[in-house]
């Protein structure tokens, strides 16, 4: 595995440079640079340099962020609170430093997210002085749509895909950043960095614009939009190694903790929400559990794990024999289901 040794050598002690930052400090950040130009005033040795592979990925992502921010009138960043979103947010802050992140973050709340995710989201918005927009589909909320009563596919359609379309239309956003990676899934592997969408948010995978070098075509008509993916070329291992190298804060769900769960359809389902109902014959178990991806808790399978630190999570990952999407109910419905969802406007 590339770089695992290097990753292990990184000291963690300067994590506080970022995690301690609050609203006040982030303004100071800017202030420091606007008034002082002596490099020695800011301790130049805040952390060891990134290895060239991660550095190249970081540079590429920053380039994409800046290009979209400069070319589009009204960009937004999809923020789904997971590890990829956390990396995305960190890169956005880097890209526009010493300025603020110049666009809002949009979270589509289905009402079925882990409470730890919501708490984390609000903490980040506060700490980094972000404009956070939260949207829940009012129709779905009114009709009480959920994964148990209506099935995972319908729930996802209404509470995620439809909700996203509503929020993007309401905000008149002409560009939306997402944290999707090409290594996640076979149809994602085909997607451009600037992924063109029709006015009704459709993706046409058979007619994507050619995308040569790092020259991106941002020409669109009114109503059309672009989804931009700064993390396209990152793998899951890259994400984790970068989180470690940069001390990026993550929701605690990524670390193993004693949690209550049941085994349902081969998936370990979190069972601590009041809306959780055991099926006949189902045993609530208790044990060390963590999550490789985050989403709606009824659709997100946990894994048995003892990894309570980043080092341990990465060590487990490097010997993992199944992919990260394995725990996700939405991808298992049928082959090509992700492509279908994306064509309909799913992120």
């Amino acid at each position: 595995m590339r770089g695992s040794r290097q990753a292990a050598e990184q000291p963690i002690d300067h994590s506080k440079t970022h995690s301690r930052t609050n609203r006040q400090e982030s303004r100071d950040h800017m202030h420091k640079h606007t008034s002082e130009f002596d490099p020695h005033l800011k301790d130049p040795v805040t952390k060891p340099p990134l290895d060239p592979h991660l550095k190249a990925l970081e540079n590429e992502a920053i380039h994409i962020f800046r290009e979209v921010a400069a070319e589009f009138e009204n960009p937004v960043m999809l923020y789904s609170i997971g590890k990829d979103s956390s990396v995305l947010l960190h890169l956005a802050r880097k890209a526009f430093y010493p300025g603020r992140v110049p666009f809002p973050l949009l979270h589509i709340d289905t009402g079925w997210k882990f409470p730890e995710m919501i708490a984390f989201r609000d903490e980040m918005a506060e700490r980094f002085d972000l404009d956070l927009v939260v949207h829940t589909n009012p129709r779905g909320q009114e009709e009480g749509i959920g994964p148990f009563s209506h099935g995972s596919a319908y729930h996802t359609d209404v509470m995620k895909t439809e909700a996203l379309r509503q929020a993007l239309d309401a905000g008149k956003y002409d560009a939306a950043f997402g944290g999707a990676r090409r290594d996640e899934e076979a149809s994602r592997a085909k997607e451009r960095i600037y992924s063109f969408r029709t006015p009704d948010h459709k993706w046409d995978p058979r007619n994507q614009r050619p995308e040569l070098w790092n020259i991106y075509n941002g020409n669109i008509r009114r109503g059309e939009s672009v989804r931009a993916f700064p993390l396209s070329n990152w793998t899951e291992v890259d994400i984790w190694r970068y989180i470690q190298a940069e001390n990026i804060p993550l929701p605690p769900l990524y670390y193993a903790k004693n949690r209550r769960f049941v085994e349902r359809d081969g998936m370990l389902m979190w069972a601590e929400d009041p809306r959780f109902q055991p099926l006949p014959g189902e045993q609530i178990q208790e044990g060390m559990l963590r999550f490789r991806t985050l989403g709606c808790w009824p659709l997100t399978g946990g894994i048995r794990s003892t990894a309570t630190t980043l080092d341990e999570v990465i060590a487990e990952l490097e010997i993992a024999t199944v992919s990260e999407r394995q725990g996700r109910a939405i991808d298992r419905d049928q082959a090509g289901s992700m492509e279908k969802k994306k064509r309909e406007g799913y992120f």
């Binding site: 595995m1 590339r2 770089g3 002690d13 202030h31 640079h33 606007t34 008034s35 490099p39 800011k42 301790d43 130049p44 040795v45 805040t46 952390k47 060891p48 340099p49 290895d51 060239p52 550095k55 190249a56 970081e58 540079n59 920053i62 380039h63 800046r66 921010a69 400069a70 880097k94 890209a95 526009f96 430093y97 010493p98 300025g99 090409r182 290594d183 076979a186 149809s187 994602r188 592997a189 085909k190 995978p205 058979r206 614009r209 050619p210 995308e211 040569l212 070098w213 991106y216 075509n217 020409n219 070329n233 993992a320 199944v322 992919s323 999407r325 082959a335 090509g336 492509e339 279908k340």
Partner: protein, 495 residues
């Protein structure tokens, strides 16, 4: 904070000699490669097999693969191409339509591979993959040999700056592992490569499906072959570095978070920079010095090609998005006319006289394209061609701008010599191009109502005036004798 970390941090931002910098990064940056060649030659199967044999396929993905495979071959092997052909239309038709990007690694290095479609209709997607690659794996079906599409792909790859080729003579299991077939095809390819100026070639007889000479050798079946497997060849390939040449920073955006800070944000596209260096802002030509290089992590004392930075200058100058900040000595070319090669990517082709958008770096401007010649793939010869360049054509063209454009040649700098053309009617990307030279003549930009100022030696002027065409329109012409120095002054001033 430990002392070793300290030195490491400083080492990174110091101005390393170029050769050393290249050596230091050689193995940890991924090698970018493409597979290309004619339709059905086994490109996706090869990459699928490569992922399989390097253990990059996880258990759940392997289970999905055997579930989806059906009866694809008589060998009882899974259809490895399905690991790549992820779109429904691709699975239905059994072909690749769009480029897929995959990531894998061996003990020695990591790779980003772009599996491109062989079908001629989707050449644009092959070009997409080729534009960023360091190496091309060109596949040939051992039974068919080199086809026109093989030549097209080899040509596009080489035009786009790929200097290293692996020739994979594939489906070797279907020609009884016959050495003479391998010799014939690799000889034929070497001639093609020579005409393209490609010198680094590794030819490998292969069965992508059975995994022979992909990750594992096949010496029992092909004892006569003692060259590397595909993976060995890839591990030995080199990655280009763009640190040579002058400093280039295409300005993406101007950062003004407060009254006293003004920074120019962009990705260094060539060379290196440090505080105190003198730079020119192009196309205006204004001069300033670098005051500071700002990044989120630290104020750096140097930046090199590839770094995404924010540059602060020592004085108030007018810099906006699309400008290029370049080292004062060793500037790129600035002008209204350039020669270029391009690949036409869409059904409408590239029309002479039409005004396109050209995007290069962060700069977008209007351009008129005049085709000059077109490459004939069967002979490898450039044939005069002034009409529309049809889809998939490779042409030499002249670019004429209304406003000054800034380029290096693609040969010198891949980042500042490349451009795309956007059709203003459809907004689609219709061509990918590479600048070959700045043009000093103004041929091909004839437009109604415009005038052209020529400055030529008096004897040549006399000759021209004696011509029939000139004499016929003598009344339309203004002539004045001026000094060489005055002529220079006029032509140096941009209008």
């Amino acid at each position: 904070m430990t002392a070793p970390a300290n030195t490491a941090a400083l080492a990174e931002v110091q101005d390393l000699p170029e050769a050393e910098a290249a050596k230091a990064v050689k193995d940890s940056r991924p090698l970018r490669l493409i597979t290309c060649g004619s339709v059905d030659d086994g490109k996706s199967t090869l990459i699928g097999r490569l992922l399989w044999d390097t253990k990059a396929v996880k258990e759940d993905q392997a289970a999905a693969l055997s579930r989806d495979s059906g009866k694809q071959n008589d060998l009882g092997l899974p259809d490895f191409a399905l690991l790549l052909d992820g779109l429904q239309a691709e699975r239905e038709q059994g072909i690749t339509i769009d480029v897929a990007y995959r990531y894998f690694s061996t003990d020695r290095r990591s790779f980003i591979v772009a599996d491109t479609p062989g079908h001629e209709q989707y050449t644009r997607n092959m070009a997409t993959g080729a534009s960023t690659a360091d190496l091309a794996v060109l596949l040939v079906d051992a039974r068919a040999g080199l086809l026109e599409q093989t030549r097209r792909h080899a040509t596009i790859a080489s035009l786009m700056g790929i200097k290293q080729f692996v020739l994979a003579v594939n489906k070797f299991d279907l020609v009884s592992y016959d050495k003479s077939v391998f010799d014939r095809i690799s000889h034929e390819f070497k001639e093609l490569a020579l005409s393209l100026g490609v010198r680094q070639i590794t030819a490998i007889p292969m069965s992508a499906l059975k995994g022979e000479n992909v990750v594992y050798g096949a010496s029992t079946i092909m004892p006569w072959y003692d060259g590397p497997t595909l993976v060995q060849a890839l591990e030995l390939a080199t990655i280009r570095t763009a640190t040579a040449g002058g400093f280039r920073l295409p300005v993406q955006r101007v950062s003004r978070p407060g009254e006293s800070f003004r920074g120019y944000q962009g990705t260094v596209a060539g060379g290196s920079i440090k505080p105190g260096d003198s730079v020119a802002i192009l196309p205006s030509g204004m001069v300033a010095n670098v005051k500071q290089i700002v990044t989120f992590d630290l104020v750096r004392n140097a930046a090199v090609a590839g770094d995404a930075i924010t540059l602060v200058l020592d004085r108030q100058v007018d810099v906006s998005r699309g400008d290029m900040i370049a080292s004062l000595d060793g500037q790129p070319m600035t002008g209204l006319g350039f020669d270029a090669q391009l690949v036409a990517l869409q059904p409408g082709g590239i029309e002479p006289g039409k005004r396109y958008w050209l995007k290069a770096g962060s700069r977008r401007q209007r351009v008129v394209v005049q085709p000059v010649s077109q490459l004939e793939l069967s002979s490898g010869k450039w044939k005069p061609h002034a009409e529309t360049l049809a889809m998939n054509a490779i042409g030499k063209v002249r670019l004429s701008f209304d406003e000054l454009a800034v380029f290096d040649t693609y040969e010198q700098n891949r980042a500042t010599g490349a451009f795309i053309l956007i059709d203003p009617d459809t907004n689609n990307t219709v061509a990918g191009g590479m600048v070959t030279a700045k043009r000093s003549d103004l041929g091909g930009i004839h437009r109604e109502g415009e005038r052209v100022l020529l400055s030529l030696p008096a004897d040549l002027a006399e000759e021209l005036m004696a011509s029939e065409a000139f004499a016929a329109r003598r009344d339309d012409v203004d002539i004045r004798r001026i000094s060489g120095q005055r002529s220079n002054e006029i032509f140096e001033t941009p209008d």
